[in-house]
């Protein structure tokens, strides 16, 4: 019984780590068009750096999530915390690294 509960808790948290389908669509649109206004629609870079996987693989996931949520001082990167949860930022990072 204990195992079952643990397993359930794990699967619940795994499910919770994915935004729902509608939100995924919104996040994808946000990535292409809003992040894209500085990083390019194809994420090849613009005023902001390229977000293609090859440029991100050597960076720590936690650092990338932190950059999305808090922004980067001294650059044009703003904090997206008011609009994106930590879990959603993780999802975006995973998507970028794919």
């Amino acid at each position: 019984m204990k195992y079952l509960i643990i397993a359930l808790v794990f699967s619940a948290s795994a499910m919770a780590s994915e935004p729902d389908k509608l939100r995924q669509q919104e996040l994808r649109n946000m990535l292409a068009h809003d992040c894209g206004s500085c990083h390019g629609l194809t994420l090849k870079g613009g005023l902001g750096p390229s977000l293609l996987a090859e440029n991100l693989v050597n960076k720590d996931d936690q650092f990338l999530v932190h950059t999305i949520l808090e922004g980067r001082k001294g650059t044009a990167m703003p904090p997206w915390k008011p609009f994106i949860t930590e879990q959603e930022a993780f999802w975006l990072v995973k998507k970028l690294l794919k």
Binding site: N29, A32, H33, D34, G36, S37, C38, G40, L41, T42, K44, G45, G46, L47, G71, A76, P78, P79, F83
Partner: protein, 386 residues
């Protein structure tokens, strides 16, 4: 036989009826698909769609002085010359890896493109798109800076700003193969865009890395860079900017000029005789475009995420917001007809162009467009700095 002659005469007339003038045409960018629409502002319709223009996620357009050709500058370094009479691409090249905008010279013979990668500008023949000059934006220890705010200026010059270097360069192209470059250094941190006044006299770069703007008087060969509004909003918290404002055109009302603040939800009113701040007009969000109707009577403002469903209209007499509109999801650009009776608005996520009558702010018509962004009318052909 007679019948045949009549018929063939009819065909001739018909062919004449299809002649097209270009003074009331325009180009609308469809950013996600990489296509452009050719539109007519008198008939308020779409004439043609030109596909396969590459990455147009940040695109701008200039027009040849005969208003026959539109030159589209794409994000991916694509430079495309569109024939507005034939609805087709006349010539297309990829001239850089990552690019931001362009300009056409005073005499209409040269096209300059500003590039992020490799940082610099390249100058092309407007006729053939052959490379005429390559000017890397080199600074410091052989680094290349991203180039922004490229405009044409009188006496066949191009003026632009170096985002990473904090410099303004003036290039004289009288001998295009040997361009004469004048560099102004330490103009301020991170110039993000610039504008030229309609008389071609002042070049003004907005700064992102610090407060204020950098002003260059192009009438005075000895002029130094003058910093204006260095203190605006210095006691206020700087708000996050989710999209860089654009300095395009010049919103003028009498002796006043209106520009977007950076990191404040305000439109700034500057007295252009003394270059001092007259008023800060509160608005709903971070302004992106602050565009004056051609007669200067009112100024239309759109906004960065998350307020980008709105437009606010500032009255030039009252210097205050007099009307707010909610055109729809993600208003990206606005363009006035040459004498300003209409304004066309692109609404990205609703896939619509909305045409408003400016006298009463009523919607006149909607046209379908796929993720429309920049709107550019051929009347720009005869305006300096656009």
């Amino acid at each position: 036989m007679f019948k045949l002659i009549v018929l063939s005469l009819l065909f001739c007339f018909n062919a004449h009826a299809e002649l097209r003038a270009t003074g009331d045409l325009g180009v609308v960018i469809e950013r996600a698909k990489g296509s452009a629409l050719i539109i007519n502002t008198s008939k308020k319709n779409i004439l043609a769609k030109i596909p396969s223009l590459g990455d147009l996620s940040h695109a701008s357009v200039v027009f040849s002085r005969d208003q026959r050709y539109a030159f589209i500058f794409g994000r991916d370094g694509g430079l495309t010359k569109i024939d507005l009479l034939k609805d087709k691409v006349a010539k297309r090249i990829i001239q850089a890896g990552n690019s931001i905008g362009g300009a056409i010279s005073q005499d209409g013979k040269l096209i300059a493109v500003s590039n992020y990668t490799p940082g610099g500008i390249k100058i092309f023949s407007a006729e053939t798109l052959e490379l005429v000059a390559d000017i890397p934006a080199e600074y410091g220890d052989k680094q290349l800076s991203k180039v922004v705010g490229l405009v044409d200026a009188p006496n066949n010059r191009f003026v632009f700003s170096l985002f990473d270097a904090g410099e303004i360069w003036v290039v004289s192209i009288k001998a295009p193969k040997k361009p004469d470059i004048r560099k102004y250094k330490n103009i301020g941190k991170q110039p993000y865009d610039a504008l030229l006044t309609p008389d071609g006299r002042y070049y003004i770069a907005g700064l992102f890395g610090e407060r204020g703007l950098a002003l260059l008087d192009l009438w005075d060969a000895e002029a130094e860079i003058k910093r204006i509004l260095p203190d605006y909003g210095k006691n206020d918290e700087k708000l996050p900017v989710y999209k860089m404002p654009h300095l395009e055109g010049w919103a003028v009302a009498g002796d006043f000029m209106l520009i977007p603040a950076v990191g404040q939800h305000e439109v700034l009113v500057i007295d252009k005789r003394k270059w001092t701040l007259v008023k800060r007009i509160p608005v709903i969000g971070q302004p992106v475009f602050v565009m004056a109707r051609p007669d200067g009577r009112e100024i239309w403002v759109n906004f960065a995420f998350p307020d980008n469903q709105n437009i606010q209209i500032i009255d030039a007499k009252e210097l205050a917001v007099v009307k707010s509109l909610i055109p729809g999801k993600v208003v990206l650009h606005m363009e006035f007809t040459p004498r300003g009776e209409q304004v066309w608005v692109s609404v990205r996520d609703d896939n619509q162009l909305i045409i408003y009558e400016t006298e009463n702010h009523q919607e006149l018509k909607r046209l379908p467009a796929e993720k429309p962004s920049g709107i550019f009318f051929s009347s720009r052909a005869h305006k300096m700095g656009l």
